[in-house]
Amino acid sequence: MKPPAFRYHAPTDLAEALDALAEVGHDGKVLAGGQSLIPMLNMRLAAPAHLVDINGLSELAYVRTDPGGVAVGALARHAEVEADEAAHAVVPLLRQGLRLVAHPVIRNRGTTVGSLAHADPSGEMTAVLALLGGSMTLARKGSTRTVAVEDFFVGPLEASIEEGELAVAAYFPRLPGRTGTEFVEIARRHGDYAMCGVAAAVTVDDDLRIVSARAAYLSLSPVPLVLDLTDALIGRTADTAVWQDAATLAAGSLEPEGDIHATAEYRAQLAGVLTVRALRTATERAALVDPNGTTGTTSTERSAR
């Protein structure tokens, strides 16, 4: 299990990186944290002719928080995003999801943007970005574009990153008003890819009645799936909600597939259970949110080398 040979490019800034990507075209792959890519290389499931290592791009090693949300640069490690207090204050779902990404040692190296670019439908960050309605910033030599999450995930392990493009940042917007979130999942072993995971966001009004309830599903569909479950819960409070109604509503839109760890039917069962659990906690949290609370702008930068 040794990786195949490739031509190595080590740009030291973004411009160089984009030059390199333009040059190598479809034969190239970007190396950031490498926690998904390198296993595939070691098993020789991938054999790119070129690898563009962006670990030297200090300028992308940031977590920037403003009142509207959190921008995460391509070189910010999961662990850095997870530990970022300002980011947590504005978008708590980030930490709620990140603590479920593999094991801490993997999070020390793996990058949040990298896992989004990898577009694995069982990757927690894909569900987080989808539920928040976030976006990705993609740069190529000479131009930059922003892609909304709905357009970003195209299929399993397939994102709308074009040849020569680099995912330079992800933006996780803050959810407005009294909104609480939760991320729950069930994996065979602690730290494994989940058999099913649910991220939920619930908004309540001043009387703590539910006005919006949405959930994003992990490992259940080729691309992250977000369902609006408001109809099942609208006007209810944490105490009066019939959570199972939301699970039933969700079930109609879920078409899970089976694998060696969980049959499709079992996955559907888990989706129902987790929908209830995530919505309930999110609703309880929503009640605790101060809708007028403000947050300043902070930035955590790290030199890459």
């Binding site: 040979a5 190595y8 490498g34 296993p39 290592d53 993997i106 190296r109 080398r305």
Partner: protein, 178 residues
């Protein structure tokens, strides 16, 4: 059959700082950090158990943070301080509290996974010097061991925290004596 010309592989001169010692070596870009440490630098204490990042035997500390050496290329480790199991003990040979604790608590059997546990636990205790049993268990839950059933590994983590504290006490006592 493949008729394609095999291109000559790139070779790069790299400098790595391992356990405070600078090394220079020449590697191909695909050289995994685990292989470079073991076979180019002769630091065979870092073990390779799966080469897909799951078992944790190859875990080393990069700028203090534990990472999988089998999921990094040696060339990417330039400019960072790498700590391997060989670098945990004091320069005078005194075992690191984690090493001492693993011995006292029988936290290892075949010893193959052990270096990965030691690097992870040494970093963990710096962040959390007084863990609960549950936190200790969680801290080692990203590393596989096939021998110990983890019972004594969890005990070792807690014992290592005690030893660290005891040693601090001793250092203070010595300081006071002076």
């Amino acid at each position: 059959m493949t008729d394609t010309q095999i291109p000559t592989e790139q070779r790069l001169d790299i400098r790595l700082s391992v356990n405070g010692v600078p090394h220079t070596t020449t590697v191909t870009p695909r050289r995994l950090l685990s292989d470079c440490l073991r076979h180019d630098l002769g630091l065979t204490g870092t073990h390779v158990g799966c080469e897909h990042g799951v078992c944790g035997a190859c875990t080393v500390r990069i700028d203090g943070k534990p990472m999988r050496a089998c999921l990094m290329f040696a060339v990417s480790a330039q400019g960072h301080e790498i700590t391997t199991v060989e670098g945990l003990a004091e320069p005078d040979g005194t075992m690191h509290p984690v090493q001492q604790a693993f011995r006292e608590c029988h936290g290892l059997q075949c010893g193959f996974c052990t270096p990965g546990f030691l690097t992870v636990v040494s970093a963990f205790l710096e962040e959390n010097p007084t863990p609960t049993e549950e936190e200790a268990r969680e801290a080692v839950s990203g590393n596989l061991c096939r021998c110990t059933g983890y019972q004594n590994i969890v005990k070792s983590v807690l014992r290592a925290a005690e030893i660290t504290e005891e040693r601090k006490g001793c250092a203070h006592a010595e300081g006071d004596a002076r």
